[in-house]
């Protein structure tokens, strides 16, 4: 087979990034680097990078400012006139989050949905993928290599290829099961998160297996063999040795998958049903953009709420996120 996963420039990038991150962390920069740096940066470059940085920030900044302006001011004046048309209010946020009137977006339930979906849609693929990655890396069997390449290659199948039949499978197999669940435990609505959890798990698996395999296969063979000699079973090796050692890889993929699921719209549109019971925040926001496209006071606040959680995750765990992204730069 022509596809050769271990040769993707993943390791190299990761190493380079770590090296710089470490250098930055310790505040130590080679003198030689400084000399070269001076020659590489020019005034034009600084100006250009400033302009790019501004262009990339202004749109979000405008939305952020607007979300705190009274509805009337948003409708009639540009946000950049904030100093000549001052006005600050939390009403927009109150309205989209707390208001129970049927005309308001009632984002509360959708936020809970997004959290519920993203939580399990991150944990399940991670556990199954790390088990599979361990098997692919440390269990020698005929055909295992080919199977791994097949799973790796599945990354190139666009989601779109799977949607129609998967929906058919869900409606014939999963729907009755959900109805049955509802009958036993009435508090669980008939429309529940199960289809979304399963769909996100399936779509996340190929990449997760590939990334975790890269990492797990680099655990020194001595460690695993020593445990085998001491009579440890595969289950024990997996839980006591492999999982703890793989925490950095697991963390970076977890963040990646969490943000991916949180931001997803396509899977949600097809498998959630779109009700307050199940639909995530992105779906509600997209809906508002369609039906309430002119209510900017609602849209700006709602959009900001929807981006704040991935941004918090991103800024607090940036280093892991970047690492996952570099390693995942082949996601298809």
């Amino acid at each position: 087979m022509s596809i050769a996963p271990p040769d993707l420039p993943v390791g190299k990038n990761r190493g380079a990034l770590d090296a710089t991150a470490d250098a930055e962390a310790s505040g130590y920069v080679e003198p030689k680097t400084i000399r070269v740096k001076k020659r590489l940066t020019s005034r034009t470059a600084t100006v250009a990078s400033l302009i790019i940085a501004l262009l990339w920030t202004i749109p979000t900044f405008g939305l952020f400012i607007s979300s705190f302006r009274p509805a009337e001011l948003i409708r009639t004046t540009g946000w950049w006139t904030i100093f000549t048309n001052p006005g600050f209010t939390l009403e927009n946020y109150q309205d989209v989050l707390l208001s129970t009137s049927s005309s308001s977006p009632q984002l509360g339930s959708y936020i809970v949905n997004s959290i519920a979906i993203a939580l399990l849609a991150t944990i399940i693929p991670l556990v199954f993928a790390s088990m599979a990655a361990y098997a692919f890396a440390w269990m020698r069997f005929k055909g295992v290599g080919v199977l791994f390449v097949i799973i790796f290659a599945l990354q190139i199948i666009p989601l779109q290829m799977a949607l129609v039949p998967l929906l058919q499978i869900f409606s014939t197999v999963l729907r009755p099961m959900q109805a049955w669940l509802h009958d036993i435990v009435p508090i669980i609505p008939e429309q529940n998160y199960l289809p979304l959890w399963i769909a996100h798990t399936i779509f996340g698996l190929p990449l997760a297996i590939f990334l975790l395999h890269n990492f797990i296969s680099e655990i020194p063979a001595d460690v695993i063999e020593a445990a085998r000699v001491d009579g440890a079973t595969h289950g024990q090796i997996f839980f006591r040795i492999v999982l703890p050692l793989s925490v950095p890889a697991i963390a970076s993929f977890a963040i990646f998958q969490f943000i991916w699921v949180w931001n997803d719209l396509l899977v949600a549109l097809i498998f959630s049903g779109g009700t307050q019971d199940v639909a995530p925040l992105t779906q509600r926001l997209a809906e508002l953009t369609g039906t309430r496209g002119q209510d900017w006071q609602l849209l700006t606040a709602a959009a900001f709420i929807s981006i704040i959680i991935p941004l918090i995750v991103f800024f607090s765990l940036q280093r892991y996120f970047v690492r996952g992204l570099l390693a995942g730069s082949t996601k298809g």
Partner: protein, 322 residues
């Protein structure tokens, strides 16, 4: 949302976690207690089964099924009509052309700007901060990004004050405000801008890491040879990061081909802005034209394929050189 609703949702999550933990626990238990004879084999099966079954049922089978559905009418008879439709109807052709424009413009611009920025800020003071700024849109959903940019493109008729930044700039320079998202063909370009805005940070981060992998000695040697900044860029930096450039271009191309949310949220594909990924959704799930939707999904897959094959070939050649 009532308290009962919230309790129901929490219960769902707890039950979901409990059931999942039970499944994994049982699996591991049986793996360790597998019969002596063929134990290694059973252990392998136990570890691989969940992932393999899920992927087989959820990806492999559906992909095959979609390929078949693309060649069938709604009653199940074999036909090429879906593809004839996709390649002859003016609206469908426009969708294909738009997709090609997207996949040409987004990777090119996102990579070019990302690379320029990465070079400009390389080892400068505040590099981390600069990176975070450009990188931030990656954490924002496409839906969120669409709302952000819809606000920039907002239009107010007549002499009313513009609240969208773009029209405000146009008016400030004495122009007439434009209904950006309704005006073909500028609307497609403006949607593409959103995708570039999102993807540039990704290109920048990967390329920046690659640039740091270039030996300082190489740059110094070039410096001693009397090269200027541009020559060092084209002769040292670009060859040094070629592999990463290919990965970045490929990844962004594939992401662009599959992007759906931006078009869906900003114009819903109206005003001649639709692209294959969006049209696939519209046909299969809105218009219930399963055959057409499947045909579009297959076309999308065929469009992704050459990019991936190219990528694999480049990587293989690089390995041979090394």
């Amino acid at each position: 949302m009532t308290t009962a609703d919230l309790l129901g949702k929490i219960l769902q999550v707890v039950m979901g976690l409990a059931v999942f933990a039970a499944i994994v626990g049982l699996l591991i238990f049986f793996i360790d207690k597998a019969p002596k004879k063929g134990r290694d084999y059973w252990q392998l099966v136990g570890f691989l089964a969940p992932a393999v079954i899920l992927v087989a049922v959820g990806l492999v089978y559906p992909a095959i099924r979609t390929s078949i559905l693309a060649f069938q009418t709604s009653s199940g008879a074999w036909t090429f009509d879906n593809f004839v439709w996709a390649f002859t109807q003016p609206a469908a052709i426009r969708t294909l052309i738009n997709t090609v424009i997207w996949v040409l413009l987004v990777p090119t611009f996102a990579t070019a700007v990302g690379l320029a920025y990465a070079v400009f800020i390389d080892r400068s003071r505040g590099e981390k901060f600069y990176k975070a700024i450009l990188f931030m849109p990656i954490a924002i959903s496409f839906v969120g990004a669409s709302v952000i940019w819809k606000f920039v493109y907002e239009y107010r008729s007549g002499d009313r004050e513009q609240i969208g930044l773009l029209n405000a700039i146009v008016v400030a320079f004495g122009g007439e405000p434009v209904q950006w998202l309704q005006t073909d063909p500028i609307n497609t370009i403006l949607l593409i801008v959103v995708m570039i805005w999102v993807q540039t940070g990704f290109a920048m981060v990967v390329l920046s890491a690659a640039i740091k992998g270039i030996a300082t000695e190489q740059l110094e040697a070039a410096q001693l040879d009397g090269t200027n900044g541009w020559q060092r860029f084209t002769n040292v930096i670009v060859p040094g990061i070629r592999g990463s450039l290919v990965v970045v271009l490929t990844t962004i191309s594939i992401a662009t081909l599959k992007v759906f949310d931006i078009v869906r949220t900003m114009t819903a594909g109206n005003f001649n802005t639709s692209i294959v990924a969006n049209e696939m959704y519209t046909q299969a799930f809105r218009a219930s034209e399963i055959g057409r939707g499947s045909a579009l999904a297959l076309i999308l897959f065929v469009m992704v394929l050459p990019i991936v094959i190219y990528n694999v070939n480049v990587l293989r050649k690089q390995r041979e050189i090394r």
